[in-house]
């Protein structure tokens, strides 16, 4: 048997987690929304038992990672320990809230501190690393993440009412869901419009090759302009249109609000859409097209029955890039009054209420990750389907 060095990645990650657990503040308690909280170390927050349990789990991972064998069993046991750690983390917050918060103070709130975030971040990195080492399929990762996420959600909604993030959410639940749906609506409309426009443009570029360079250069140029600036530059002409064209004003077209936001989102979305559609249609192998002609297909049949299905995975990749980009840009659009989850970020920054910033930023991150993973899986499945046939 060959002697292999220890798994350095897991070793480093578990040492970082142990150091954070023992060396940094784990939670902070604030008397109300605005004042800065005071930090508490892990043993003050979770009790000695809690810290001992977490440390034992991490020491186990460290020990396993240090083993020179990289057997599947070894990796699976590390995975189990990390999942257990992630599952136990919300209960740690519960213990902290019971131990540290005075029930007489209804405004008092608990926030996760540096150690908590570091451990969470490293545990997620460890999950990614173990997934890669074990070559787990997407299915298992989705199962694990939805299990962990489900438990977190349950804890947050049932028992963690002292957590600052939960309090922010409860204080503006209706506004949150409104912003959430606005965000999704703007992203869907922008992506939908740019899919249609992108395909039309890509087909035009295929037909009139002369405009190819110019068209891509122009779309590239727009992509270079920072989002804040593009929103600003669209504002003046749109304000002029709404002031001088009665019909446009009746439609709700304004210098600020959703009009410039959607327009800018579509402009940004066009480059990835057009590029991927174009590349996708060009990438279909000429042999396949030859074979299709040989079978007696008409050009239109050949286009719709051969070229489009084969191009679909790359096209979907374009939709994925476009959607992820639009999710982030829509957050910026909140600055010009377009609503969406970004409004919590900028309001929170304005009021120095960091939990409100989190209330906006975390869902945006989650939506981006879910959309990215979902469309990525779909395109992978289509690609496999295409190669199986």
């Amino acid at each position: 048997m060959d002697k292999r060095p220890p798994n350095w990645v897991m070793t480093v990650l578990s040492i970082v987690m142990l150091v954070a657990l023992w060396g940094l503040d784990n939670v902070s308690v604030a008397a109300n929304r605005i004042v800065a909280g005071s930090g508490y170390a892990s043993w003050e927050a979770f009790g000695w038992m809690g810290v001992a349990l977490a440390s034992l789990l991490l020491l186990f991972v460290l020990l396993m990672a240090w083993q020179p064998t990289h057997s599947r069993l070894n990796l699976l046991s590390q995975l189990a320990a990390i999942i257990l750690l992630l599952l136990l983390m919300p209960f740690g917050l519960m213990a902290a809230s019971a131990a540290l918060i005075d029930p007489q103070m209804p405004q008092a709130r608990l926030s996760a501190g540096a150690a908590y975030w570091v451990v969470l971040f490293c545990a997620l990195l460890a999950l990614v690393e173990l997934r890669l080492r074990l070559a787990l399929s997407r299915f298992w990762i989705v199962l694990i993440m939805s299990g962990v996420g489900g438990l977190w959600w349950l804890c947050a909604s049932l028992w963690l009412d002292r957590l600052a993030l939960v309090q922010e959410f409860q204080a503006r639940e209706a506004a949150f869901w409104l912003a959430f749906s606005e965000h999704l609506a703007m992203v869907s409309i922008a992506v939908g419009v740019s899919i249609v426009l992108g395909i039309i443009l890509a087909l035009l570029i295929r037909r009139y090759r002369a405009i190819q360079r110019g068209a891509f250069a122009l779309l590239n140029f727009f992509q270079t302009i920072p989002s804040l600036a593009l929103f600003g530059l669209l504002l003046a002409p749109l304000a002029w249109v709404s002031a001088n064209v009665p019909f446009a004003a009746a439609l709700g077209i304004q210098g600020i609000g959703w009009t410039p936001a959607l327009l800018a989102l579509v402009i940004y979305s066009l480059l990835p859409m057009v590029r991927n559609t174009y590349v996708a249609l060009e990438a279909v192998s000429p042999d396949v097209l030859d074979a299709a002609s040989g079978m007696g297909m008409y050009p239109s049949q050949r286009f719709w029955q051969v070229r489009v299905p084969l191009a679909l995975p790359i096209l979907l990749e374009g939709i994925r890039i476009t959607a992820v980009q639009a999710i982030g840009l829509t957050a910026v659009a909140a600055l010009i009054g377009a609503g969406g989850l970004g409004s919590f970020i900028f309001q929170g920054l304005g009021q120095a209420a960091m939990d409100m910033v989190l209330l906006g930023a975390l869902p945006i991150l989650l939506i981006a990750l879910v959309v990215d993973a979902g469309l990525g899986a779909l395109s992978e499945a289509l690609r496999q389907g295409a190669s199986d046939d």
Partner: protein, 255 residues
């Protein structure tokens, strides 16, 4: 996120310097003209009492913006290329799957969200913005450094080894030059994103070209917004066109 379509290789010609020159002249021209264009901006914001952004001079704002992006970019490039080189060496190979996974997964995170998350952790001001820019800007550079180094033909590396070159020499004289175009493309993406994200830094207390835009939105003054937007857009386009020239030169010099 803003990777570009592959252009057919075109010969380098001094005329290509015209584009960046034109954008730079336009940038400087606009910055110098803004204080004197009272009438034009009055027309854009007829109700406003003051139509030229006064809180700071535009040359100053431009300088601060360039400073923040410049500092962030130099840290990012150093760290990013270093990290990319480290995980592709024999002794760092353990970290390669994780690092390349993070580099591609991390680009899913919207820059605004990264900036917003940096503030609770680091506070308001210029330093948190530089940290956020560095963290986010690292991803495209690390990813492209890894991709560029991986693409180097192993045959070339073993030939260099056979010639008696040391690993350090191989890295500096063979691998990095061959990977340079891909790395430069990553740097270009990173800097473009950073210029845009730095402007958002005005919402977290940094004073730069985003400032007039934010002030204009808050006071409903279109003139401020247009002034800030014009200068940022010109800055971004100028720097991008400079990168374009560099890339063309490099593409010409690498086989």
């Amino acid at each position: 996120m803003t990777s570009r379509p592959v252009h057919p290789r075109s010969a380098y010609h001094p005329i290509q310097l015209l584009w960046p020159l034109m954008w730079l002249v336009l940038l400087v021209g606009v910055v110098l003209m803004i204080p004197h264009a009272q009438t034009l901006f009055q027309w854009l914001a007829p109700d406003a009492r003051q139509v030229i952004y006064q809180r700071a001079d535009f040359t100053q704002l431009l300088g601060r913006h360039l400073m923040v992006v410049g500092v962030a970019a130099s840290i990012t490039i150093t760290l990013g290329v270093l990290a990319g080189v480290m995980v592709t060496r024999q002794w760092g190979r353990d970290f390669l799957p994780l690092v390349s996974q993070i580099a591609s997964l991390g680009q899913t995170f919207p820059p605004v969200a990264v900036l917003a998350l940096a503030v609770p952790a680091l506070g308001f001001g210029t330093i948190p913005i530089i940290v956020a820019l560095v963290l986010y800007g690292l991803l495209p550079i690390v990813r492209n450094t890894i991709a560029g180094l991986k693409d180097v033909d192993p045959g070339v590396v073993s030939a260099a080894y056979g010639m008696g070159m040391t690993p350090g020499q191989i890295l500096r004289q063979v691998e990095l030059p061959l990977a340079a175009p891909v790395i430069l493309a990553g740097i270009r993406t990173s800097v473009t994103i950073n210029i845009a994200t730095a402007a958002l830094g005005a919402t977290v207390g940094a004073s730069n070209l985003g400032d007039p835009i934010i002030a204009g939105i808050v006071n409903a003054n279109n003139a401020y917004i247009v002034q800030g937007a014009m200068v940022i857009a010109l800055l971004a386009v100028s720097i991008d066109s400079i990168f374009e020239v560099f890339q063309r030169r490099l593409r010409l010099h690498t086989p």
